[in-house]
Structures are given as C-alpha cells and as structure tokens.
Symmetry: C2
Subunit: 449 residues, 2 copies
C-alpha cells in the first residue's frame, strides 16, 4: 500500500489510540495529531482523584507524552495546535499554532475527528469568576488544584449530582472543605432510578454533604478581587470560595458541522459502526462521535474514556485498511463516593417505561461477600428484564467494596441475550471471601422469575 | 393437590434448599430430612476460615438450625439420623437414629438424595492417627480446630494443593505454624494450566510454604500416644504434628447404587436437568449428583456449594410440581491464598487440547485498577477461545484484590456465546478505582483477536 497521511484532530483517548493502531498496521504512513491543550493521552476520569490528592502527581495521569509518541511510534503529536477548519473538498485542515499564532493549511489523505466534549458552562452572572471550575481537561484540573492549594478554600459548592459531582464531593471532603451539592433535579445520579438514587442521597448527607435538590444555580457572586464568594440558587444563597460545575458535557462537533458533516439529534457526529462520518475519508471517534445504544436502538451521545478507546481502536483499524465494527453501548457507568460504589447498565426502569417496553423489576439487598466473613458489606441490586421474554434489560448496583464491578456480569449477560432465568443458574464463582452462595445479582434474578 | 410426603436424605445445601423450596410451594406437605451429622445448612466452604480463626464462631457458618427449619418452615430436620437403605419398590427408607441406635422404616411419596460427598481418605499406614484431618463436614472442622487449640501444633503438613489445600495453608500460617504442602502432581491447582499454576506455586513459596511437588504420601508415623509425629513421602520425611488431607472428594452414591439407581462414570448419581434419577419419584441433588459440563458435553462430578444450591432449587421446584431445569456448569471456581486471588472457568488449555478442540490462547499481565490509583495490583489473565469461530471457551485469572471475581464476566460471556471479538467491545464498567480503561479481560481478548 502506498504511503498515506493521516491527520488526527484531538490527542486524547480516541485520537491517540486510533493513531497508535494505524501505526502498528502501517509503519510507513505519516501520522500527525493536533491537540489544542498542552497534554496528550491523559486520564480525564482521574482528575477528581488528582484534586483530592489521592493521586498526587499530574504526570501519573498521563499515559504517553508527545515525546513518547514521536520517539516510540513516529507519531507527530503537536500540542497547543488547534484545528480551526476542515476543508473536505481539498482534503486539508487549517491549523492554528496557539503558541506562535501562526496559521497553516495541512493536507490529509485520511482525517480523524477526535475533538472530545466540553463541559456545559451556563451563561449566568458571575460564571467567569475565579474559583469556578468545570473539569474536563487535565489543564483545567491542574488549574483547580493550584487554586485549592493557593487559596485554601473552605466552602465548596458543587453544581450537578452526577459522576463528576460525586467524585469531586469525595475529593473536597478529603481536603476538609464543607461541601454543598446543588442539583436541579429531584434526585442525584440521573442515570439511576429514583429509588436507587435515594440511597446515594442518604449516604451523601450521612457523610456530611449538604444536599439541595430541585434547586437551580442562578448566579455567582464575587468579591472585589473577582474571586467567588457566594452562590445564589433559586431558593437560597450559599457561602462559597470554590465552585465546581458538573452539569454535563456536550460534544465538540462544531468543526465537523461547519464542514458539512452530518450530526445526530444528540449533537454528536453521526458515524456508522466503522466510525465513518457522512464525508468520505473522514472518521470521528470518542466523545465527539455518536454511539449506538444497543437497547434503545438509537444513536446517543456518551462521554466515557472506555468508549473513546474502543472508538479509536475501530477507527484506527478501519483507517489502516482493516475490518472492525463498534457494536454499541449499554450505557454502563460506575463510580464511587467514599465507601459507596455505584454502577448501572442497560435500561433503567424509567427508560424502559419511556420506551414502552413491558418490563419487570426486582430490587434486593444482600451482602457483598459471605455474611460471616470479615469485610462483608451491604449491596443493593435492582434488576430489570422484559416482562414477555425475561431477557435482561438493565441493572443498578449500590454497595460497599466489591459491589459495583458485578455490573460487568450483567453487561455480558445482556450482550449474550440471557434471561433472568439464565442468570439464576449461571455458573458464577463462589467462595466465602468473594460472594454469598448466591451472588447478589442472582438473588435479584431469582426474585424476578 | 393432595398432601404428599417428601423425604430428604442429607440436610446441607442441596437437601435443605430443596426442602425449603418445596415448603414455599406446598404448605401442606410433610417434609422430613435425615442428616447423619449434628448440623444442617452450614457453609462447608467456610471451614478453613473457621480453623484459621478468621471466622471465630462455628455458629456463624450455620445458615439455619433444625429448630429454625421446624419453627419457621415446618420442616422436620432430624440430625444424627442416617439412612441405611432405600427401598424404591415399597417407597420407603431404612433410618438409623445414631443417638439411640433405633432402626425404623419410613415411607415417602417423593425422595430426594442429597448425601453430599466425602473426602478421599487413602488407605495408608497411620492414616487414622490423631491429628490427621480431612475437612468436609462442620463436625470435622470443629474437631480440627479443637485439636489445634488443645495441642498447639507447630508443623503442619498439607496433602494436596487444591482449593482446600491452599485455604488451609493460609489458615495455618495465620496460626503461626510452619506449613509444608505435598502434591503428587507436577503443579498445584490442577484445574489451572501449568503456566498459571506456577504463579501460585511461586507465591506459596514466597509466603513461606514449603512446597513438595511430584511427591506422594506413603505413611504417617505416630508417637506412642497415637498422635501424628512425622509424614513419610516417597522422597523424604517431614516433621508433622498436624496433617490436613485435601486430596479430593468422592460422591456419596453407594446408597443410591444399592437401590439400583444409575450412576455416571464419574461415580455421581445420574440425573437429568430436572434432577430426576433413573428411579421414579427419586431425585438427587448436590455433590452426590452429576452436573452437565456445558463445554465438555458430559456429566461430571463437581462438589461446590453454589452448584448444590442450584440443584436443590431445581429439585425442589420440580418435586413441588413446578417446572425448572438445571442447565449445567462451566467448572467455575474461585479461591484465595493470602493476597492472591485465583479463579477459573470453562476449559483450560489442557482440557481443550484433550478434547481436540481447536483453540487459541492469550495470557496478559495488567493492573487490577488504574495503575496510578492507590491499591492497584497485578493481575494475570489467560483467555481461551475456539480457533475457528472465536467463541470463548475459558479463562484463568490470578491477581491481587479485585482480580478474581472478574471471572464472572467471562462466565456470562461463555453462556451467551460471545466471541473474543465481542468481549473486546463489551461495554464494561470503567472508572479509575475499578479498572484500567481496558478491563484486563478485554486486554486478553484484544490479544486473542
């Protein structure tokens, strides 16, 4: 095959894994990556733990630096370079060097858009104040950590009770701040059903988080030095010298849209299983690209490092001339807040109802390992299956150490079209340090059948 | 339905779960259980931890006592009662009261044989010495623990490097004994492939266990007081004031065989998926009954509490007039030795080769959770799939905390007929405290494809 030039826009999970995959298959191709931030291939999911000092050093979060990519893989990853325009007709991109402000046009044979997602930053008074952070890039994490170290804030307000919100609550409690959490919904963790989310709310409060549900951020008030001093909601004011915005992210798809590439309803770039966009020789992968939800049968926007890596692997394989297809997602997610582990996959009861799928549900409480064994803790499992066929649809798990990763067994079971009945008799591993004699997910399955 | 009488022989996992299931469906039936030991429904798998004082009190291991069964479930569980004969023609059993030595014939409408398994006790000189224990019943565990407390042995010799052997090695090290482990095979953990078992051997030795492989027990030597003093192998003698036999168990199927009930080649009672034996109105469940191995397509003998419970649930459902079927097993097993977790499921490489199945294998080393996260440890995963279709066949996992229960994901994947390729793209849960961005089993799957 003749020597081709691959240009990748975005040097994090999806972009760099695609670039690496192409390099393994095509040792001679030219591969150039443009990344507007100062970092490549870092763990965005690790940022809350970095701020909480559970992970001390930012370099721990970086899997590979641009130097490593160049030396080991002959991939030219140019940091602080922003792509401002895609010109599909002439197969070139307009690149801005953010250090020198130089602008150039670079050609490509194949283009991968891996521009990621950006935190939603509501246009409210004071939102630009110092001490207000939305964490998505490593750079934003470093800024936040420096701010915390420099100004030693005492009163943190977190806006949004999702994954980032919970992880940041833990991190900031760890740093001895008082933590308030605002969510405009009637529950935290919107991907859980309310009955399960209530367990999380109770534990948050139990651990000292001031929780304000059904309450919206209105404004941020500052001191004369432009640093945040107070948060105003539609119901009250809260003292605050640190504000974390965790109200979600949106796909960075403007560049693609401007080039006439088709987007989905979700705002993410439309791709098929091979991560091909509507434009010839242009692929998209990672947070900016859509994923098929295998139970909803529709393309959704999902922002997760693990999905981004899979996207990148598929895109890289296909770009290099191989065959691969990304099947889709079940919306699996996992997190922890202090000693509580939380996981979900597939359809929640709310989602099944919204899709008018006839479903059955069971919620059980049990122990993570044999009750008599030291370290045994509580676990609650909610399991949902089709009412007609018994096919598994989803699960939500909340519990202490060892609880949440059990979600993976349900993920595999859903993928394999297993029923609740199949799950009851599944030959899962048992020994007292690992499980009760019926695994908690089987206890839930028994209740379902 | 008219009032029937169910007799159950054996009051542990299979027998009591069947009895309980029948009671839930048939409130009026008479249910009598004969158990020759002094205990019902206990966790045999917990015995090593009981001896190691990780679980202090024997009562913790007992799920339900005969009194509970009688009061709460109207199930008459008669302990220290042995069934000596089954008379299928007249639908009766001959019962010996081990306390009073009284013998009686008791009739049944339905009979469940749940007689369990017994440890293999080789007929060698000195094997009856005091201080030699094979642990299967709670009673034997209590005797062993009392012996240890009374005589404070210093030098333990364990015969057999399987699950019991490893768990007892941990328990006895915990009690500050020197521990020697003899196995006549060239590896410990016979259900693992040798390359994986070597990791276990290395760690056993690292933790102070004296390991003697390819070495057979020849005799046990005693002092004048009949207490064990020395163990003789075909290669050496070892000081020993405590000997644990962990060389396997065999199904208690003589009673069934004597009654003309068909056995399998394995020696276990032949049953179909409904746990029916060859004899009308007689069921078998638990260790004494065979299980279908879903990948070997043959009936095997397997001795595991979790399988026994499932057998009992199916037998109870069917006996009570309902419909249920036990699909079979993959030979899933899990254990730990100190900080090392060990699990396996499906076919090992050795087994696939023996069955002449064309297979591919991959073995990888990774980290249990994100490498930069505190508590991250090592994990090795060996994954086996069909060479033709890529269908998953089996896995072996060895690693630190959080490693082994991942086997369940592979179990569900095998049951769901997933391929290695499917596993690569499976939507497993990721967050730094739980996993690397590719779960270790996916890293193994990537290497396979």
């Amino acid at each position: 095959m003749d020597r081709k030039k691959l240009v990748v826009i975005g040097g994090d999970a999806a972009g760099m894994s695609a670039a690496s995959k192409v390099r393994r298959s095509q040792p001679d191709w030219e591969i150039v990556v443009y990344e507007r931030s100062p970092h490549t291939s870092y763990s965005a999911c690790g940022i809350p733990y970095f701020i909480g000092d559970i992970v001390e050093d930012e370099s721990s979060l970086i899997a590979r630096t641009p130097e490593t990519f160049l030396e080991k893989h002959q991939i030219k990853a140019l940091i602080r370079h922003e792509v401002a325009k895609i010109d599909p007709e002439n197969k070139r991109v307009k690149v801005k060097d953010l250090s020198t402000h130089r602008i150039s046009w670079e050609t490509y044979d194949y283009l991968l858009i891996a521009t990621g997602a950006s935190p939603i930053h509501p246009d409210l008074p004071g939102i630009q104040a110092q001490g207000v952070f939305s964490l998505s890039t490593l750079q934003s994490g470093i800024l936040a950590k420096n701010y915390v170290k420099t100004y030693q804030p005492k009163h943190a307000v977190i806006v949004g009770g999702g994954y980032i919100g919970l992880e940041m609550a833990e991190a900031l409690l760890e740093r001895d701040m008082s933590v308030s959490l605002i969510d405009r919904n009637e529950q935290v963790m919107g991907t859980l059903d309310k009955d399960m989310a209530t367990r999380v709310s109770d534990y948050l409060q139990d651990q000292g988080v001031q929780l304000y549900l059904e309450e919206s951020l209105i404004a941020i008030h500052t001191d004369t030095d432009q640093k945040v001093r107070m948060v105003e909601t539609d119901k009250r004011t809260l003292d605050a010298d640190l504000v974390i915005l965790g109200i979600g992210v949106k796909p960075n798809a403007e560049l693609a849209a401007d080039a006439g590439i088709q987007l989905c309803d979700s705002g993410a770039i439309a791709v098929n299983g091979r991560m091909e966009t509507s434009q010839k020789d242009i692929w998209a992968a990672g947070d900016c690209a859509s994923s098929r939800h295998l139970l909803k049968n529709k393309d959704i926007f999902i922002s997760l490092g693990t999905v981004a890596n899979k996207h990148g692997l598929v895109a890289g394989t296909v770009i290099a001339g191989g065959d691969a297809s990304f099947p889709g997602v079940f919306g699996t997610a996992i997190t922890k807040f202090k000693a509580m582990e939380i996981a979900r996959t597939g359809l929640s009861e709310t989602e099944a109802a919204a899709l008018a799928i006839p479903y059955q549900k069971a919620t059980i409480e049990s122990s993570t390992i044999a009750r008599y064994f030291p370290g045994s803790g509580k676990i609650a499992v909610k399991l949902i299956c089709r009412a007609d066929s018994g096919l598994l649809l989803g699960a939500q798990i909340i519990g202490s150490q060892g609880a949440a990763k059990r979600i993976d067994t349900v993920v595999a079971a859903i993928q394999g079209n297993l029923t609740a009945q199949d799950l009851v008799y599944l030959d899962l591993a048992y020994a007292p340090p690992f499980s009760g004699i019926w695994d908690p997910i089987q206890i839930a399955a028994r209740q379902l059948v």
